[in-house]
């Protein structure tokens, strides 16, 4: 039984099927996520990020690989751990940090918060904080694409914990019987919240080992390798666009921080984090770029540029006003207001 999808890693070299330009784009996406998430953590320590936040530090390759394989018009459905997928679609760091800091310059002007990042113009059709809710919703978006004959694909990202809720199973069966152009992406970071996923799941691979129940291929990919993720995503998108139905992909990865900002992650066995950091997605990607002959300066220029973007965004957010009270009652209903009576 295959444990890692043999579509990856594929031929090696800058002029392979991925190519230099796409690789630099995916490297940059990963660095943007890393720097923005680290900044979000630092701002939380300064009490400038309010509420909660769920970081994707360590999981950047999943977001970069899928977003890299998407086309304009493809739709992303994220969870509360959605900053990475939002940034990966090109949403500005300032708008994301602004929302985390609950300022007026945020993506939703502070009305949604960290767990609900949405940017419809970028195809980010919401981040959903009720586990499992967005899998059926992604099915609906895919149903519309099928009905209208458009070729866009809906991608639904979720964690390993989602595989044990009913909506996961309803959505998988539904997508399979209707042959919907939807790609379900399980980011298996080994922990449900604080509990190891293996302690609460009947099968070793929480997503992939369920695929056969819905007539789907068992796909596991190295979620810390953006190239492997990208190739797997490409294949799933090609299948969806050809009208051949959904895919379920389990990405093996690891979050470097706790579940949420309240969690120091003391439940992890000693040495586990260090071992995963040896396979830090950005570290291994940078090494690959160098090995493929990308000049070091090209890479450090990206690093420097991204840091400046994140620094500038931070300052802009600190200077931004709080949202005005007038927006409390806007957009409850489609008429723009909140009137429920005459």
């Amino acid at each position: 039984m295959a444990t890692v999808n043999d579509r990856a890693p594929g031929p090696a070299g800058l002029n392979d099927d991925i190519g230099e330009q796409k690789r630099l784009e995916m490297y940059r996406t990963q660095v943007v996520i890393r720097e923005a998430e680290q900044r979000a953590y630092d701002l939380f320590l300064q009490n400038l990020v309010k509420g909660t936040s769920h970081l994707s530090l360590g999981q950047e390759a999943v977001a970069a690989g899928f977003a890299g394989a998407m086309q304009t018009g493809d739709l992303s459905f994220c969870t509360y751990r959605g900053h990475a997928h939002t940034l990966a679609r090109g949403v500005s760091v300032e708008k994301v940090l602004g929302e985390l800091m609950q300022r007026d310059n945020g993506l939703m002007r502070g009305k949604g918060g960290s767990m609900h990042l949405t940017s419809a113009e970028h195809g980010v059709m919401g981040s959903y904080a009720i586990i499992g809710a967005h899998l059926p919703i992604a099915c609906g978006a895919a149903w519309r694409a099928q009905y209208k004959g458009t070729k866009d694909v809906a991608t639904c990202f979720f964690g390993d914990g989602t595989t044990n809720i009913g909506a996961f199973h309803e959505a998988l069966n539904f997508a399979a019987i209707w042959k919907l152009p939807v790609v379900f992406v399980c980011e298996n970071n080994l922990y449900m919240e604080y509990t190891p996923i293996g302690d609460v799941t009947a099968v070793p691979h929480p997503a992939a080992d369920r695929a056969s129940a819905y007539g789907l291929e068992r796909i596991i990919v190295d979620g810390n390798d953006a190239d492997a993720v990208y190739r797997t995503a490409q294949a799933a998108y090609a299948k969806a666009r050809a009208g051949d139905g959904p895919s379920l992909i389990e990405c093996l990865t690891y979050r470097h921080s706790g579940h949420s900002r309240a969690d120091p992650a003391k439940y992890r066995p000693e040495g586990e984090l260090d071992r995963w950091k040896l396979r830090d997605p950005i570290k291994i990607y940078k090494e690959r770029l160098l090995q493929f002959g990308v000049p070091e300066k090209t890479i450090t220029d990206i690093d420097t540029d991204v840091r400046k973007i994140v620094d500038d965004a931070t300052e802009a957010c600190k200077a931004a006003p709080n949202p005005p009270a007038e927006i409390i009652t806007t957009d409850v209903y489609a008429d723009g207001g909140w009137a429920w009576r005459n």
Partner: protein, 326 residues
């Protein structure tokens, strides 16, 4: 003008909207080839085909989620949840997803869909297939909630719901499916948020919804004939938006208010209306507002027991007569 059953009005209402707009699609359990367990969707599959009228598995979350995803990306779905009691297994969509996506996204997302469902008692189905859940829905900001009592209202309010840009919960009453009423020919489109005065009167206002409307009308006729009490019967029709002005206007005229609610007593829709009237029309009242409701119990299955707990014309007559002291 033709006489139509409430059940056939559902079919005609859906068909009217599907003919008008190719983006209207319909999904639910047993709704297509079987024509619905209440036979309220017979013929739609044959008329509009398998791409627009789709059978689903018994997966209420998938039905609701798929409707939402389709709605937010450009379709106008009508989803059927067979019994409104099943809202409880997909309540996340009703409480958290449909009504909050527009607000949380600061207006970026939309959710123009209709959830049709068989609501209410009288079928002897017991506590999990008989509930009146309008109050479950009314309390959630962002939803609209409609409950027609007659065939013509089914068509007109269903059309208004499909054309509405917000998520609408459309509560069809199971015990009304076989009832008949006159329906004009041609397209029928009504307006959400409008109550209807079905029987003018001067002595008391009786507010009712869905199955309670014909019961209130019967009670009003008996109150007039047997006790000389002239009641105004108002069909509330739409809980959100709520036509408060029609209600306040009626109370200003009659000075007495009765609500007839099928939902269990606590937090029923009448409680909110009584609160509004107390706030805004207290000095119009000549006596305390009175709520006639199902008691705060799960519904029993046995016909003899269910008939005792749901408000009846007899209970309405006795309550109004006693309250008015005649």
């Amino acid at each position: 003008m033709a006489e139509l059953t409430y059940r056939d009005a559902v079919i005609r209402g859906i068909a009217q909207e599907m003919e008008r707009d190719p983006d209207v699609v319909f999904l639910g359990e047993d709704v297509a080839k079987a024509g619905g367990v209440f036979k309220a969707t017979v013929g739609l599959y044959e008329q509009f085909g398998p791409l627009r009228v789709r059978d689903t598995p018994i997966s209420e979350q998938a039905i609701m989620g798929a409707a939402m995803g389709a709605a937010m990306t450009g379709l106008k779905p009508i989803a059927e949840i067979m019994f409104s009691d099943f809202f409880a297994v997909c309540f996340d969509y009703i409480a958290n997803e449909f009504p909050k996506s527009r607000y949380m996204s600061n207006g970026q997302l939309k959710c123009p869909l209709v959830v049709r469902t068989g609501n209410g008692g009288g079928s002897r189905f017991g506590a999990q297939h008989s509930q009146s859940v309008e109050n479950w829905c009314m309390m959630i900001p962002g939803l609209k909630v409609v409950a027609p009592s007659s065939p013509v209202d089914v068509i007109g309010l269903l059309a208004a719901s499909v054309r509405d840009p917000d998520p609408v919960i459309f509560l069809e009453h199971k015990s009304l499916y076989a009832t008949k009423g006159e329906v004009p020919d041609g397209e029928i489109v009504d307006t959400l948020g409008t109550a209807k005065i079905l029987r003018p009167g001067k002595d008391a206002t009786i507010l009712a919804l869905a199955l309670m409307v014909p019961r209130a009308l019967e009670a009003a006729e008996r109150l007039k004939a047997e006790h000389g009490i002239d009641c105004e019967v108002v069909d509330v029709r739409s809980l959100v938006p709520l036509d408060t002005q029609t209600i306040l206007g009626s109370v200003a005229k009659t000075h007495r208010l009765f609500t007839v609610e099928e939902n269990p007593r606590l937090c029923g829709w009448g409680a909110e209306i009584v609160s509004i009237v107390a706030d805004e029309a207290f000095y119009d009242l000549d006596g305390p507002p009175v709520r006639i409701t199902t008691p705060h119990i799960p519904l029993p299955a046995a016909d003899t027991l269910e008939d005792i707990v749901l408000p009846t014309p007899q209970r309405i007559v006795e309550t109004v007569r006693r309250s008015l002291g005649s």
